[in-house]
């Protein structure tokens, strides 16, 4: 049977972008189904009834939801060009930090960018602490995955374009090169990987979007 791989996503979702990267890195052909979250399609509601969110991978008619779960599914289904190391401990380490990225790092960075004044000052403390943890993970490595991109790079990859967009919108430089030299270097080489470079959302569009979100938060005060 011919493989049918569909990715339900939005133009800007960083979680969905992880899946685009994984599929491209593994050379898997797929069809993109673009969603408008203001008007969710029957396909999305049927494929992810629990969360009604993107991304959803639909493989030969079977849906898989939650981006980190999808990444592992892709890794286990298409074994060429592995994204995870063989060693169980190294795998555990990748999973731990991917979880940290989603549960702690991203929310703390997000809070910095939707806050104003004193609240933003306060929000910086945990964000910088979390960034420091991640900085340490790059010690002696080119990518989080070692010599090559791995699952953890894809999980943290939202930092590569998202942070610079948020920095531009707020005028606040979060990842300063002298404070986070390894992370700064990683952002550059990660963004330069061809499959990553060709997949990003249009920068100007992202800037408009996040400017609008930040303005909306400021207005609610």
């Amino acid at each position: 049977m011919a493989e049918e791989v569909k990715l339900i996503r939005t133009w800007s979702s960083p979680f969905a972008l992880r899946i685009v990267w994984a599929l491209k890195l593994k050379g898997i052909e797929f069809e993109t189904v673009l969603e408008d979250l203001a008007s969710k399609s029957p396909l999305l509601l049927q494929s992810n009834p629990v969360h009604k969110k993107v991304p959803v991978l639909v493989h030969n008619g079977k849906p898989v939801s939650e981006s980190l779960v999808i990444l592992e599914y892709i890794e286990e289904t298409w074994k060429e060009k592995p994204l995870l190391p063989e060693d169980p401990y190294e795998k555990a380490s990748s999973r731990f930090w991917a979880k940290f990225s989603d549960e702690k790092l991203l929310p703390s960075v997000w809070t910095v960018f939707i806050s104003q004044g004193n609240k933003q000052e306060e929000a910086l403390v945990p964000a910088l602490e979390n960034l420091q943890f991640i900085e340490e993970q790059l010690e002696g490595k080119k990518f989080f995955g070692g010599e090559k991109i791995g699952l953890l790079d894809l999980a943290i990859g939202w930092m590569a374009d998202m942070v610079s967009v948020l920095e531009e919108v707020t005028g606040l430089k979060l990842i300063q090169e002298d404070k986070f030299p390894l992370l700064s270097a990683w952002i550059e080489i990660f963004a330069d990987v061809p499959e990553i470079k060709e997949s990003g959302a249009p920068r100007e569009k992202l800037i408009s979007k996040f400017q609008a979100i930040r303005d909306a938060y400021a207005a609610t005060k």
């Binding site: 939801s65 592992e72 401990y89 795998k91 555990a92 731990f96 940290f100």
Partner: protein
């Protein structure tokens, strides 16, 4: 094969997350040393091994540290694989299913239960609603199955397992009631079958110990709130 000296589990005797790891290790028949940790006065050892979260459980295997209970479960499953009791299924789609639902329980159900227990007013009501919604979904998923893992317990049963035992005390001490054997008959049936599995039955903390810990949490939260005001 690794002996007890090589494998340590830091946890507490009442911790529901610690028990996930205990059950996994016992199902696989792996020997380990249990190190009881005082969570109110966190030891330098815990802070050194889990600087990010400062929580239990922490697994230390031949000097290598693994944190986060679900990550630990997958590590155990992959490290002790051939010839051992399997936790996750082989099929990638079935695996994805187990991982998805474990995450769902840790997010929607657990966070809802935490809000119901600790919060007041609207946040508490939202928490209770969240738990009820999560239960409804789980009811649908367990229908027609003996265990989430099929005929025998697996990764997802272990992940959901705390609801079969700890949750009644959360409700009791938190003074709310969502669990209902009439509304969620299949889930209720699963909880009873799960608690009958000998490894589980033999590895549960005594009710008074769990109550005591939860009462302690409630008191601490109450004191913290008063200190704020």
């Amino acid at each position: 094969m690794s002996g007890t000296r090589d494998l340590k589990l830091l946890g507490t005797k009442e911790s529901l997350f610690t028990h996930r790891v205990v059950w996994a290790l016992k199902l696989k028949g792996i020997e380990y040393e249990f190190i009881e940790v005082d969570l109110l006065n966190k030891s330098p050892l815990l802070l050194e091994l889990n600087p990010v979260h400062k929580k239990v459980p922490v697994l230390v295997h031949a000097g290598k540290t693994i944190c986060e209970s679900l990550v630990i479960l997958e590590y155990i499953d992959e490290n002790w694989k051939d010839g051992y009791y399997p936790l996750l299924p082989q099929d990638p789609l079935a695996k994805a299913y187990a991982r998805f639902w474990a995450k769902f329980v840790d997010e929607k159900f657990y966070q809802g239960a935490t809000a119901a227990f600790f919060s007041t007013g609207e946040n508490r009501a939202k928490g209770i609603e969240s738990v009820a919604e999560a239960l409804q979904v789980l009811e649908g998923e367990i229908q027609g199955k003996k265990f989430f893992g099929g005929e025998t317990i697996g990764f997802l049963d272990i992940a959901v397992g705390w609801i079969a035992y700890w949750f009644q005390f959360v409700e009791e001490v938190g003074d709310f009631k969502v669990m209902n054997s009439t509304k969620y008959p299949s889930f209720d049936s699963w909880t009873k079958q799960f608690l009958q599995v000998s490894i589980i039955k033999e590895n549960l903390p005594p009710p008074e110990a769990v109550r005591c810990v939860f009462v302690g949490f409630k008191n601490m939260a109450f004191q913290a709130k008063n200190a704020e005001n």
